[in-house]
């Protein structure tokens, strides 16, 4: 059976393809070094337009209006530019009301793109550009530690990692966030109050890594100007010991990337923390697809041992009956404390 894999690795080679949603201009070069927040591509992807219905305004037929329109597709126009005018003693002039770029002319109408900002694609990870994908993006490679999370607020940043959580089950409080933590990426624990998120914004942290987040804070967390990555759960839960160990042993490491991307099963995106580490050679890349097999390190994602890490020691061929009566395909897991549990395979993810 195919196993979902989540990466929590102390040293690996991370390769990420970064793509724009539409064709645009890639502004990095092959072998260029980039940081997570660097813009690597720009595209025009406007959703803001101004429509001028010349035919209606002059009360003439569309084909007559088309002949009078003085603008062409692609032309840049300023506010006040004359679009068309009719003839007569006092000619009526139709002017552009917003500056922009003409994107369509026809049917007696002119459509102008009035968006102020182009789409910008950030690198999302530090590293070296190893491939350019013409018009769409680039492939970036980095060597370092990789910790994937379960929830992100969509922001990207980089900074120095500061370990605030002294243990896996720490709870973040607003009073812990003082000005000395300014411009740092903070490893905290469970966040249960809005004040903590706001305090982090007030001292302009570069990012927040949480073990878990109270679900009522999701909306606020999305609005925060800095990236927030939740490693384990929405709802109170300690950080996985593996993730905590990787992150805490890199305390005060510089240039840590936080790409708080949305977790999407379809796209395969997950929020990620990447800690660049000096290496002479490329360590192996993480496995992306695996089948369940004995010997794997697994994390249990549902009760009665949510978040526990152990080793998959047996995969019985026959379906097992759980204490609640459900008949399932299960695996026997030996937890780090030696306890044995029969867990439905669908409640496991492979740590790798």
């Amino acid at each position: 059976m195919l196993a979902p894999v989540i990466h929590q690795l102390a040293l690996t080679t991370i390769v990420r393809k970064r793509l724009m949603p539409v064709d645009g201009e890639v502004i990095v070069k092959l072998n260029q070094k980039v940081s997570a927040s660097d813009v690597i591509g720009e595209a025009s992807f406007s959703q803001s337009h101004h429509l001028i219905d010349v035919a209606r305004m002059l009360n003439i037929k569309a084909n007559q209006a088309d002949k009078m329109i003085a603008l062409k597709v692609g032309e840049k126009v300023e506010e006040g530019t004359v679009v068309a005018s009719d003839k007569g003693l006092i000619p009526r002039k139709i002017k552009v009301q917003h500056s922009g770029r003409v994107v369509a002319v026809g049917g007696g109408q002119v459509l102008i793109d009035i968006s102020k900002r182009d789409y910008q694609l950030k690198a999302g990870i530090s590293g070296e550009v190893i491939e350019i994908i013409p018009k769409r993006g680039a492939v970036i490679q980095e060597v370092g530690a990789l910790v994937q999370g379960v929830w992100g607020n969509g922001k990207i940043a980089r900074g120095r990692l500061h370990v605030l959580a002294e243990q896996t089950n720490a709870i973040l409080t607003p009073s812990q966030l003082d000005i000395s933590l300014r411009s740092l990426v903070i490893l905290a624990g469970y966040c249960q109050d809005a004040e903590s998120l706001k305090a982090a914004a007030d001292i302009t942290v570069r990012g927040l890594i949480l073990s878990s987040l109270h679900p009522s804070l999701i909306g606020l967390a999305r609005k925060m100007p800095y990236p927030i990555i939740v490693t384990d759960a929405l709802g109170k839960q300690p950080m996985s010991p593996t993730a905590y160990k990787i992150l805490s042993t890199n305390n005060q490491r510089d240039n840590v990337s936080l790409n708080a991307d949305f977790f999407s099963r379809h796209k395969g995106t997950r929020p990620e923390i990447v800690i660049p580490l000096p290496q002479n050679s490329l360590p192996p890349e993480p496995i992306e697809i695996d089948q369940f097999k004995a010997g794997q390190t697994v994390r249990i994602v549902r009760a009665p041992a949510t978040g526990a890490v152990g080793t998959l020691i047996d995969l019985p061929a026959k379906q097992q009956i759980l204490p609640n009566g459900l008949r399932v395909t299960a695996g026997e897991v030996k937890l780090e404390n030696g306890e044995l549990l029969m867990v439905p395979l669908v409640n496991l993810e492979v740590l790798g």
Binding site: H49, L51, P215, H266, V301, A303, N324, P344
Partner: protein, 584 residues
Amino acid sequence: MASVIDTDSVLALDIGAATTRAILFDVVEGRYRFVAVGQAPSSTHAPLNDLLSGVSDAISHLEQITGRTFIDNQTNSILTSIQADGSGVDAITATISAGPPLRAVIAGLLADVSLESARKLATSTYARIVESISINDPRPAEEQIDAILKANPDIIIIAGGTNGGASQSLQGIIENIGLAAYLMPQDRKPLIFFVGNREKDAEVKEILEPLSSALYTAPNIRPSIEKEDLNAARKELARAVVEVKKMQLRGVDEIDAWTGGYLLPSIFTEGRIIDFLSQLYGAQKSVLSVNLGASATTITAGFDEGLFSQAYPQFGMGNNIVEILENTSTAAIANWLPMDISPERVNDYVYAKALYPHSIPATKDDLFLEQALGREALRISIQRSLKDMPADVPALKSGLLPLFDVIIGGGSIISNAPTPGQSLLILLDALQPVGISTFILDPNNLLPALGGATVINSLLPIQALETGAFSNLATVVSPVVSARYGVNILSASLTRADKSVSKVELKQGGFEVLPLKLGEVGDLSLLPRNRADIGRGPGKKINMKVGGSALGVVLDGRGRPLELTSDNVRRRDLIKKWLWSLGG
């Protein structure tokens, strides 16, 4: 592939959001039978993003169960005809509900006429309406264009204009949609589906076809102000959905080719079989099918008046489960639990399920929580669908479920519940049926496959159904009455073939069971008291033959609508008692 007339073995593939099933039907002693089902997790998500892997695993599982071979090991391709060594199948059908729901923009003339019909059409499949436009829309054209661009639709459904009526008003809407489609990047252009005034078909095709990924047309869904006709459009929409899925998911093309172009959305084929069954059971008989799937909760009903079908992706039990909380409260979910659990815990459970939609409850508390969520998802879905069901179908009281002779339940929460009693109680609590209904479980999610198989052989669904493909849960009698708690509302007597007789007096608020084993037949006599109505009118008695089932005859006197007491201790005790009555 063999002729559609002399087809024997049929492999039906059903590709769901969580599970892919490979179902084998074959002819045994001259009749079609459901032979076995192989299952595997669907592989439509990253990193595979290719549904063929899950299909291949499900077929391999079926091979293990049946000892037969369907895949050529040398070429790794499906054997689409019977080989000399007996391997392969005669025909393949496939249905799909996997993949994200379609992002649909709907457009029509009047908001409460053609736009409303477009809404019903869009939600009859796996789609979410992300924007709607009509001539009542106060936004200027440029804002409508930008709204369509922001909506990033997979499909735009355009309705409006009666056949033979004026078409000028529709022109502006078509032009705005055309401009928006023109501005979209080439690889993100939407499929456009025109179901308006037929006289505009050619013009729409000329203007919009070059600006869309594909253009489909179907007969006007609102041929006149008074008449709505979604049937022909539903059929075209089914193929349009598959076209969009081809763009979204790898492997859809191949599966469609295996089936000779008959890959269809599961909800469409489920509708087809429910329509078929309601006709098979005879005039005045209505059939309801509900499915609590990972991608959506679906409600399909077959009436004399026609087919009703709605998908609710927002109430799916998968990664969009959090949306249930936007339509109900944690307290309402907790009200269905036999134990005391804090709203906080309910909340955390929902979010954990959203992060790991394929996970299952491993403790008793979690199982009850999951079932409570299922009840709420189904309850909200059925309440929404009541507003859209035909107004003239037989019903005992407005606001309650219409009369259904047969109710079929599917989806893993219902069909994989550890006991038949749990399955039935989820259905009763959420649907709150009235009158007399036979409850059937679809444990292998065969309905979509059977609907798909009607294309190959119309005998297959009938014969497969007669050979135990489904499980009979119970015959349920639910009186509608205005009476005080504890008052007698029904006298019931069941006489079995061995002449043994069970009699019971059902009281308002009560819940009784008259056992009748599978394979047995009994004579059921029902005499309503205090003007209770069980389908024939207040106080009218009914004598009928009933077939045996897992639970027998269940008399549900808990009231319609079912109102749970706010006394927490008493409510939990009652829930435990109801569950105990049905065997735990």
